[in-house]
């Protein structure tokens, strides 16, 4: 009797007007509480908007040489001053930033794709686990910066010939960074897949005849999304730093093609007279990487269900 009345009262209750809270709403709520991450996110958004949308408002060409107004300090015509050839530094910073950020994001996507691919395959198929993880260990044992430098030296000419100067060097840098930075993602994803594979829902999906490819794309991948997203944000940071380091060592983009690292490298020659030429690009790199790192930190906390709600 009581049982029945209880169900009746439950049935009489008004229909829920709101849909149940989704997982992403929870994640967003947790993310909002992390002040550093919010600030990092806003800052990163501003920087990206500035370098991509800025050129629409500031229409001086980054490569336009005006030798008469060279080496100027900050003024209304040139807020960041001009360099030794009279090129506007604000325009160069924006152009350099768009290259650096594009390289960072594209290289991160490549590394993420390779890492998740290797990680999922190694975790899911037992037979591939050994060889793929040995391959990962091998890549981890390679001295990366020297190898990157060697790769830059070797493939610059053929790729330039094939795709043109800017395209060629862009492809080269992105693939070099991507190929040398997928290993951490692969390891994390593999570990998660190994644990997920033993769960009941995977067994259930398999028992109704789900094929391996569907099982991976519909059941495994969505569940390893959070570590992938965290390594994505951190991957942007490392990719931007690596690209700038290559440019700084003179083995990155060509001189007339500004990136933040290249601008810094060019500024070092005029360090004594115009230290601000080094400080602007350096500050831009550091702030971008700092904001991305904070973003990743907050994302890691937000995506971890054990911390969420605390």
């Amino acid at each position: 009797m009581t049982e029945l009345s209880k169900t009746q009262t439950e049935l009489n209750q008004p229909e829920p007007t709101k849909p149940p809270r989704s997982q992403w709403l929870d994640v967003w709520d947790q993310f909002k509480t992390h002040k550093g991450a919010m600030m990092g996110g806003v800052l990163f958004f501003l920087i990206v908007a500035g370098v991509y949308l800025g050129p629409f408002f500031w229409d001086i060409d980054a490569t336009q040489i005006d030798i008469r107004s060279r080496n100027q300090g900050p003024s209304w015509a040139h807020p960041f001053g001009t360099d030794q050839l009279g090129r506007d530094l604000l325009a160069r910073m924006m152009a350099g930033g768009s290259t650096s950020v594009s390289v960072g994001i594209t290289a991160m996507l490549l590394a993420l794709f390779l890492g998740s691919f290797v990680g999922v395959l190694a975790g899911f198929f037992k037979r591939l686990d050994g060889p793929l993880m040995r391959l990962t260990d091998l890549f981890l044992a390679l001295p990366l910066l020297p190898l990157l430098l060697v790769m830059m030296l070797l493939f610059r000419e053929p790729l330039n010939a094939a795709f043109g100067l800017e395209q060629g060097i862009f492809i080269l840098i992105v693939s070099a960074i991507g190929i040398t930075s997928w290993m951490p993602t692969a390891r994390i994803v593999r570990g998660d897949v190994l644990a997920l594979k033993e769960r009941e829902f995977v067994l259930a999906a398999r028992s109704i005849g789900t094929t391996n490819s569907k099982l991976i794309t519909r059941h495994i991948l969505p569940n390893v999304l959070s570590p992938i997203m965290v390594s994505a944000t951190l991957g942007i940071a490392t990719a931007i730093i690596t690209e700038s380091a290559l440019s700084f060592l003179g083995l990155g983009f060509p001189p007339d093609f500004p990136t933040w690292g290249r601008l810094l490298f060019d500024g070092v020659d005029y360090l004594q007279q115009y230290p601000e030429r080094v400080i602007w690009p350096g500050l831009a790199i550091s702030l971008t990487v700092l904001s991305v790192n904070y973003l990743g930190d907050g994302l890691r906390d937000a995506l971890d269900p054990r911390i969420r709600g605390r």
């Binding site: 910066l145 940071a237 060592l249 790192n293």
Partner: protein
């Protein structure tokens, strides 16, 4: 433990051989020609002779084999000869640099002390700073000290050495004029004055490198301490009336040091290889600068040997880290 070590050592041999092959094949595709700087007036047959003198005339597998023999068989003999005064290596061909036409290993040995001094000091300084910061910020989690430590280590992660290096040069050598911006490797320390000079020129590169390493290590230390502070054995130790100092500095610290020690061991190869950029900024003529110079000058034997030395160090210290982990943590059994 011993069998594990031996097994890993045996496994390291094919890994290293494979890595050396990968490096060799990569360099094989190099577009640069070592004969590019020879004047055009030199007749082609003479050029061919010079090419053969550099060891370029033979097919690729033979050259790879020769490099292997030179590196693994002849160079150790040279080392033995040097220490014991024997003559095993007499008349045998060593790995010759194309830039200087002198043995690669001799140049490497000349350059290693500078790198070790600067980068090694930075590593030691970083460890000394990082451990107390990590311990205290974990003990007082979310205090202002912890927040500050988090921020500083985030900055340390984010500011690349080619910016922080240039920044300290701007501040301390250009504006204040306290320290020289270029590291003078010819300086001989034999008096108090020269010692002070050496200190002055070392401070900036050491600071720049130490900031980065401190950032990573203090984060690790903090995370590892936090893992242990909530464990049951800590409550037990407090419950039986041990002083707070003993609980934290003996019980928790000893357990938290296990992963940190392995991280420290894993970072040691970076002492040799990772300071390439810092060496470039401060013009320290160490190994990193040697590598950059060799890459720019297309000196393939030098690049091959240096990259391979880095790889050997990485593999070796990975092994040492694993073994250390097994020794320090009795819960881990590899066999």
């Amino acid at each position: 433990m011993l069998t594990f070590t031996i097994r890993r050592l045996v496994l390291a041999v094919p890994t290293l051989l494979f890595i050396s092959l990968v490096i060799f094949l990569l360099l094989e595709m190099a577009p640069g020609d070592p004969m590019a700087q020879v004047p055009l007036t030199v007749p082609p047959e003479v050029k061919e002779k010079m090419r053969e003198a550099l060891g370029l005339g033979e097919p690729m597998p033979i050259r790879f084999w020769k490099w292997i023999v030179q590196f693994f068989w002849i160079e150790p003999q040279v080392l033995i000869d040097y220490y014991l005064g024997t003559t095993f290596s007499e008349g045998k061909l060593r790995v010759i640099s194309w830039q200087t036409r002198s043995p690669v290993m001799d140049i490497v040995v000349q350059r290693i002390p500078q790198t070790l001094w600067v980068v090694g000091t930075a590593y030691v300084v970083a460890i000394i700073i990082a451990l107390p910061i990590g311990i205290y910020s974990a003990y007082r989690q979310y205090s202002w000290f912890d927040q500050l430590g988090t921020f500083v280590s985030m900055v340390g992660f984010s500011v690349p050495p080619f910016f922080s290096g240039v920044l300290v040069i701007v501040i301390f050598s250009v504006q204040l004029g306290w320290f020289p911006s270029i590291y003078d490797t010819t300086l001989v320390v034999d008096s108090w004055d020269s010692f002070v000079k050496q200190l002055q020129q070392m401070i900036m590169p050491v600071m720049v490198l130490a900031l980065q390493i401190t950032a990573q290590l203090s984060r690790f230390m903090r995370a590892s301490m936090l893992d242990n502070l909530n464990q049951d054995y800590v409550r037990t130790a407090r419950a039986k009336g041990l002083s707070e100092y003993v609980v934290v500095m003996v019980h928790v610290l000893r357990n938290s040091m296990i992963p940190v020690v392995t991280v420290i061991a894993l970072g040691i190869p970076a002492i040799f290889g990772g300071a390439i950029i810092t060496e470039q900024v401060f013009k320290v003529n160490g190994i990193g600068q040697l590598l950059i110079g060799a890459i720019q000058a297309n000196d393939l034997p030098m690049v091959q040997t240096l990259t391979f030395i880095f790889a050997v160090l990485i593999v070796l210290f990975n092994l040492i880290a694993d073994v250390l982990y097994g020794i320090l943590d009795p819960r881990i059994r590899y066999d």
